[in-house]
Symmetry: C2
Subunit: 211 residues, 2 copies
């Protein structure tokens, strides 16, 4: 039984579902057909009780004692997360990071396709980066609206992140993955997630024995 997402599912639970989906995909690649909350928990270093509890928000998906059918669980989690469809994504910023993102092959089979790469620098506009030709920012609004693109990745310097985010929201983008090391402010109905490697490094150095 698939329960429709409701707003009483904690966001921290939603945040773990992509990890489950990734681990399940890996198990499937290894040729497995069935798994258990214990096996998933070992892979992810999350307790099996937590996993069962998280999945129970959506109606379960497995019978006690028989484990989970991997294919079925992948399908159900993909539906819950709405990645049983392909989302088009724009990347803003054609520096080293934007280029690396545009070349990354790991988006496509997990629900996302990079559709356009934008930059505002005259030297970059028109350049060919892999399969993309860098488009000027002034075309962003039209393209995003015309193609109903809902998701953007922000790979611009920190000082431009807020103004580009405003521009994206204005164009109709509803979710921003921000690689700039700065918090951006957006209307409450817009999703923002952050990728900042330094925050992860600093989290780990807390635990290291000093040099």
């Amino acid at each position: 039984m698939l329960v429709k997402p409701t707003d009483n599912i904690p966001d921290i639970v939603i945040g773990r579902l992509p990890l489950y989906l990734r681990a399940l995909g890996r198990l499937q690649q290894e040729g497995k057909e069935v798994t258990s909350s214990h096996e998933l928990g070992n892979r992810l270093e999350i307790s099996s009780a937590q996993i069962r509890k998280d999945l129970s928000h959506f109606g379960g998906f497995g019978k006690q004692g028989t484990g989970y059918r991997i294919e079925y669980l992948i399908e159900k989690l993909s539906t819950v997360l709405q990645v049983n469809q392909e989302w088009m994504v724009v990347v803003v910023g054609a520096g080293n990071l934007g280029i690396a993102i545009s070349h990354y092959r790991g988006f496509q089979d997990r629900g996302f396709r990079i559709a356009h790469l934008f930059d505002e620098s005259p030297e970059k506009i028109g350049a060919r980066i892999g399969e993309f030709v860098v488009k000027p920012m002034r075309k962003l609004n039209d393209i995003v609206r015309r193609e109903s693109i809902k998701i953007a990745m922000l790979a611009v310097p920190a000082e431009h992140a807020q103004s580009v985010a405003d521009h994206l929201v204005e164009a109709g983008v509803q979710a921003i993955l921000n690689y700039a090391p700065i918090n951006i402010s957006v209307p409450p109905d817009i999703q923002v997630q952050y990728i900042d490697p330094v925050t992860h490094l600093q989290h780990m150095t807390f635990y290291l024995s000093g040099e």
Copy 2:
């Protein structure tokens, strides 16, 4: 008063300290000298009560009603997180992502310096990437040991991530930032953090109205 880190501080609290540090750095760049838990909270979308509680684990740092002196708080949080020193970091994987990481200028002023870039592909070894010459994996052990390097960033394909992680741990690395979209297994005293943009994208699509 600075309280020494102890193991009864929840890891989730430690994980927020780099966000506080980043926001404080930004406030300082804006020319501010004093801030409050309310101002920080607004920037980070974290409640001011949470911020005060988190900081109280380390003895406070501010007086009720007068706010926090930004420079002082930066210094104290940097000390707690041990980023009042510069950590050398190796990057393994000289593909697009490893190259982007090696060019990224945001590490240096936040406690980290990329010291070496490794790859195992004969076509990449010896290539010049910015200021780095790509070194062969067979030299990793010697270099990491000789220079007492404790931190590595893993930018290799998923299928190689575990074996490279084993190699890094063997060489004495204590903290790994893993960009490969796969969970790796390491001894309990080794820190691992993950960067996987797709998990963030999938987290956000849960909330989007379908196409």
